[in-house]
Amino acid sequence: MPGSAESQVAYFPYEDNTQTAREIEGYSRTLTRTPLKALVKRPLTLSELTGPTGLEGKLKIGNNDLSRAVPGGPPALGQRIQICGRVLDEEGAPVCGAVVEMWQANAAGKYIHEYDKTDSPVDPNFIGTGRMLSDEEGRFEFLSIKPGAYPVPESDWWWRPPHVHFSIFGPSWMSRLVTQMFFPGDPLNESDLLLTSVKDEEARQRLIAQLLPTKVGANNILQFRHDLVLRGKRITPSLD
């Protein structure tokens, strides 16, 4: 059969307890933008089992240093950090050539975005977006500054903990991932409506980056490790 030479990848439905809740009390937009009807089950055909390739021909790729607005320019304010990790499938195999997009607030919790109406200071040396390809071992790394927390305007108490957004293009339409990464030990993690909506303890802990052993040297950077697991399992034919 054509196409059967390489290993087949299977996509199973998400286990809901390892994912964020779709509707969240206190986050009103989830109650106006989440479908009421049950999502329709469908078979997967070539259309869903394929996905964009060669996006580097369409998108600007290669900026993974967010610590300055321009190469060689003045540094952004804040604690300098490095985030490194791997893009993996559900069985721990590296996903190479994945487009990894990341974006975040500045050290004061302010985004460069027209919809960020808070009066927190803008840092002219911080833009807060990066995009790169994972290497042959699935690795990616970004140099940045630690984002600040920020208040959610529609709420009278909710502050988002410091977090970094990731958007990843895996090998197919089914393996697209959009997620957020949190920092270990932040007290705001405990009250965040999004993070705490992930009910499975292990799945929730995997959303929090790991601080690597600290070093003091020429470049003083706190290093964090964070792996991203895309959907997809390689299946071996059963012997029944």
Binding site: G3, T30, S47, T50
Partner: protein, 200 residues
Amino acid sequence: MSKKSTPPTANFTVGPFFPAYFVEAGCNDLTRAGTNTAKGQRVLLCGRVTDSDNEPASNVILEIWQADANGIFRHPSDPRLPEADPGFFGWGRTLTDQQGWYRFVTVMPGAQGGGNGAPRLPHINVMLLGSGIMRRLVTAVFFGDEAETLRDPVLRCVTDVTARCRLFAVRDPGLDCESAQAFRFDIVLRGQRETPFFLD
């Protein structure tokens, strides 16, 4: 002994601050790949995204994925990849404006059929990300003859006939521009006239 597998990382909303920088100029024009131009009938796919209160859903990111004019996906899993149109990537991204409008310029996708693959009507996969959308919403827009609905294994899963009709693009010659045939596909995120979305 089988190795323990790890469930996928939890999906989150993109929030309200998805960088404009990531919606590059030309991202919503699929008819160009590098210096090549896509073959086939040019199509303007546009519509409005609304929420449960019938309010425009602004700042929603849409991404699409489709086959080229001959029904070939630019992906190694498609056995017809060597014949794929070099002028067509098949992927695009845009975001809705204040009134909830989006638009893509693309080509009419070909059907799939025969051989070993499942027969599919011409269609474009659509996904939505946005503030309040905790996990991406996935749907598809179909072109062509509604009478052939039951040939498509995905479309026929939408058993509610009224809802299924909402997945067909509506030809709107009044919006034609630059030799592109316009098709309208409105998306209702929630409510009585909700668009069918697929289990992801």
